[in-house]
Structures are given as C-alpha cells and as structure tokens.
Symmetry: C2
C-alpha cells in the first residue's frame, strides 16, 4: 500500500512538474535563431495576451493573416499553381487539338514555358481559365487533391506540400496556442489551396481567402452543384488583399505576414489599426538553402514593401540569418 501510494505520488509529481517545466522552458519557435525577428514575435504575442495590460486584445479579435506563396511555402522558380496548370494543359491536350497551334498552349505543349509566358498576364489568364473552369467545385477539389498527392517540385523533387517553411509552421501553431485565428490571404486560387491547407497548415477552408473565378448554381441529376466558369470573380492581390480580408473576415487583422509587394496593402491595413499591431516580411536571402530574390524578381517582387517595412518598423525576416532550418524534412 505504501509503495503504491509512493508510486502514485511520484508519478503525479513527475506529471505535474514535468509538464510545467516544458511549458516554461519549451521554445515555441525552435527553428528560429535567437535574434530581433524571433524576439519581436514573442514580445508582440506576450503584449496582446497579457490579461489586464492596456495592450490586451480579446481572443476573438486576435486575427492574423498570412500570404501563402513565398511566405508559407516556396514560390520559385514559379508559383506551384502554374505547375499545376501546365500539368493540366498536358492532360487536357488530347481533347483540344486546336492547342497544337494556339498560344500560349502550343509553346507549353512543346515544353517551352518561357515562350508560353511571353504574353504576360494575358497568357497566364488563358492558361488558368482553360484548366481551372468547366467542372463542378467538387470535381475540381478532387483534381487538386490528386495532383498535390503525387506532383514533385522540378528542382528539389520533393512534394510541394513538403516545400513549406518549418519556422512558419511553428509560428502558426504558436499563434493558435495563444488564441489567434490564423487565415491565409493569398493571390493564389482559393479553391486551389483549400483542399490541402487544413492538413498542411492546420487552416480550415473557411479561413482561406484567395483569388476566385465565378461559379454557377445548377441542378444535375437532381443534385445541386456549383459549376466553375472561365471568368475572374476576384483578384486577391495588392489592394485586393484588404478588400478580401474585409469581405471574408470582417475584422482588421492585428498581425499580417507577407513576403512581396503584393502583400504591402495587407500589411498597411493590419498595422493601421488602433492598439499594438504586427507586420512581418519574409525576405528571401538564402540562395543556398532556398532562393535569394527581392527587388529585381518578377515572382515575389519585394521592393516598396521592403522600404516601408524599414520605415515603419515591421519585422523583416532574414531567412539566411533567422531560420535554423527551412523545410520540415531537415528536422
């Protein structure tokens, strides 16, 4: 009896004090090197969660918004959604003999991506509409799920869902542990992201904001479906980001995270509110472990937002200096 009691007591001691010790000394951001960036995040979270402090923000108002391409996952040498679209062009080509001579499809089918993109956003638009419309929303979900389960990044040969940034995954978890709601606000397609964001980032479909095409309600075989139309509904980039945030979330975020000039207006919007606010820019500075690009890059172009970050005191993450590892598989 005595021995049992002692065992129970010891076990209780270990459980209680063991978990306290973890809670107190556990680093919520283990893949971040100690430095200004990490410190600024931890100080911001401490301020807004300290009960009774004048900076305290009630949990329902702890809204945080994250860009996706270049902020949560890699965007080089080209946005993943474009690789998806190119793959779809190849799959659909047998049904479209006219593409053999029609640009940008003809170049794409010959493997000349650069030639296909020569027409700029107009070419991208044609490729997106040809590959993202014409099916029901649920059919498109299946197409995306099938692709993302098997596709590999052309440079690293890793699945795209493993090209996410481990330090940012830790940041998402850390914010949610502090009663933040985490949202994606991306220029990418809303329906391209939703099929996998819950598994990969812990962000459910209803917390994903993105660009969209129009849909049409139909009854097919007695069942209600939505059919995707080849017509832009909303461009969730630049000015579109705060507009999309207001439409979908209806509150001004207290923290926003981006990596390019496409995120500038979102960061301005989040940090213009009253009380303590937090803006962060991921600066791609690591040519060895990831990519290094900013003012001269067309993908992830970071110029005005970098200047404004410095002027306004937003946190700028120097990927090379601030991140111990980049991808989860390096753990």
């Amino acid at each position: 009896m005595k021995r049992t009691l002692l065992t129970v007591f010891t076990l209780g001691f270990v459980l209680v004090f063991g978990s306290l010790a973890t809670a107190q000394t556990g680093d919520p951001l283990p893949s971040w090197n100690d430095g200004k960036a990490k410190q600024s995040i931890i100080e911001f979270v401490a301020k807004v969660t300290e009960n009774g402090s004048s900076d305290f923000v009630p949990p329902p108002e702890r809204i945080s918004t994250f860009d996706n391409d270049g902020t949560l996952w890699a965007e080089q040498p080209m946005y993943s959604q474009l690789f998806f679209a190119i793959n779809r062009v190849k799959q659909l080509a047998p049904q479209h003999p006219e593409w053999k001579t029609e640009e940008p499809f003809a170049s794409l089918l010959k493997g000349d991506v650069k030639g296909a993109m020569a027409g700029g956003m107009k070419s991208v638009g044609r490729i997106l509409m040809a590959t993202h419309a014409g099916m029901t929303t649920e059919e498109f979900e299946t197409i995306v799920k099938d692709w993302i389960a098997t596709a590999k990044h052309p440079v690293t040969k890793k699945p795209y869902t493993e090209m996410v940034y481990q330090p940012m995954l830790e940041l998402l978890t850390y914010l949610r542990a502090n009663d933040f709601k985490t949202f994606i606000v991306s220029g990418g397609g809303i329906e391209f992201m939703r099929p996998w964001t819950e598994t990969v980032y812990g962000i459910p479909p209803e917390q994903v904001v993105g660009s969209s095409i129009k849909t049409k309600f139909e009854i097919r075989d007695g069942k209600a479906v939505l059919v995707r139309l080849p017509e832009l509904n909303f461009n969730d980039d630049k000015d579109g980001k705060p507009i999309g945030i207001n439409l979908h979330i209806g509150r001004r975020p207290i923290a926003a995270f981006g990596n390019s000039d496409g995120d500038l207006q979102m960061l301005q919007y989040a940090t213009s509110g009253t009380g303590v606010r937090f803006g962060l820019i991921v600066h791609h500075t690591d040519a060895e472990r990831e990519w290094a690009y900013d003012r001269k890059s067309s993908i992830g172009h970071l110029d005005k937002a970098l200047d404004e970050a410095q002027a306004k005191g937003w946190t700028v993450v120097d990927m090379k200096q601030d991140w111990k590892i980049i991808y989860p598989h390096e753990k």
Copy 2:
C-alpha cells in the same frame, strides 16, 4: 481521516453523477414543443455526432448555415435593414436638398414608404446605395451600432435585437455545443449584420455571409482604410446563397435553415451532399404572437420551398404549434 475520505468520496460522487444527470435530462431546446420538428433536429444531431456510427461527421465538417431575416429574427412588416435605410435618408436629407423632389426619397421624406417602394427593387437599390456608401467600413460599423442600440420596431416598440427567435437561439447554442460551426447566410447586408451578430447570436463576423457593395482601398492621413462604394458587389440571395457559401466557407453545409424561397437553393445545396443531411424551413403561421404569411407575401415569400420541403422531407416548423415562446422576453 476516514471522515475526510468519505467526504471527498461523496463530493466526487455528487459532482460526477450530478453533472451526468443534468447532461442526460436537461432539454437543449426548452422553447420547442415536443413534436416532429424538435424530434427531427435531435435525431439528426445524435446521428452525426455518434462516434463509430456510419453517419458520423467529423467536427470540422459540421457546417450549418442560417438565413437571418424571418429565420433568426422577425422580418415583418418590412426588413429591419430597410427601416435602418429610411432612418438614414431622414438623417442625411439636410445634405441632399435635391431629395425633396427626387423619388424614391421625396415620398420617403413625406412618410410615404409605400409610395417610395412603388419603384420596386430599383427604388430599394437607390435607397441602399444612398445610405450605405460613401464612408469607410469602420464609420459604417459605428453608424449601424448606434442605430441598433436605440432603434425600436414600429409595431412591437421593442429593440430589433430583441425580435430574435428564442427557439432558434437555443438551436444555435445546441448545434455549437455539438461542435457545429454556425454561419449566417443572408440576403441582408454583410456589413449591416456583423456589428451585432456576435453579441446577439454568438456568431462572429467571419462567420457571416451576406450581400455586399464594393469597397476601395485608400490611405487617408497615413492610415489604410476601405471606402464603401455605391456599387453592388454580391447579391447573396437565391442562387447567390450556395455561391456565397462556397466562396466564404468552402465546404457544403450538412444542415441549412431558412424560411423563404430565397433560401431554396441553399437548402438544395446543403441537402444534396452525401451522408445524412438536414434542411429546415420556419413557416410563419402565428398571426397572434408573430405574423402569418407564406405564398402570397412579398416579404418572406414561401411557395416553391414549401412544396420542395414536403417533397424532400425537410423539417417544416409550424411556428404556432412548434414554438412555446417566440421572443426571449417571454421567458
């Protein structure tokens, strides 16, 4: 020592079994009379929440959508948002001398609401754009909050926020207690609802879907704001409801609640999915305690959806028979 142990044991017994008893006998829907409607709700919730059952739905997929006008709060003799708009016309009239002779404003200012509405949806549109645009989103939020805090319903003289249906408040709470996420999907203005839905229904702004006007991003005095423009962005009614659900939520609801033909497509969409689904129509049958209207009413017109409810086995709430009380103040 023995006595202490006994006390602890007894206390534990009372705590454990006392709370079990409450959980088992407490009626989650006390304002609903026993009958088919109440039973159908409880059976549906039991089915989808029973672990291991083939009907089990994981919590993240327990999406429920509610119409607002006529489903969660009263919509007679006219939508509350129109009373708000008319009040705004009167307030803004001194800045618009031209309204004295311009319809529909001239009739409205003379107190002739019927005359003002003679122009149908075109008149309503003009009134909405003149009263809902031209300010920032945050200024509009304040305007709505100020109005709803003081305005009284023309018939009952109660605040509009007290003209909500107690049985539906219980239903919202019951669903959330069973890990459902509750959303509003209304033809009403998204920004007209968000300032008060969290307090009144427990539904946060990011779970409100509604009609909207366009907004424009601007920097004013160094701060980022969104300015409301007099241009329709989205009409969240009829076909628009499933489209809005897909855009904002990105999942097909497993349960939908409405009261008019404007909700028909939402109910078709929710109940067309695989697995157990639930559709419910609130039928206004109580001329004494509320209002009685359906097929011939222009507000809350219920005709096709009533036929389809019967054909498809959706639950039809007979307000007079099924609800013990209508409003919270009757408790």
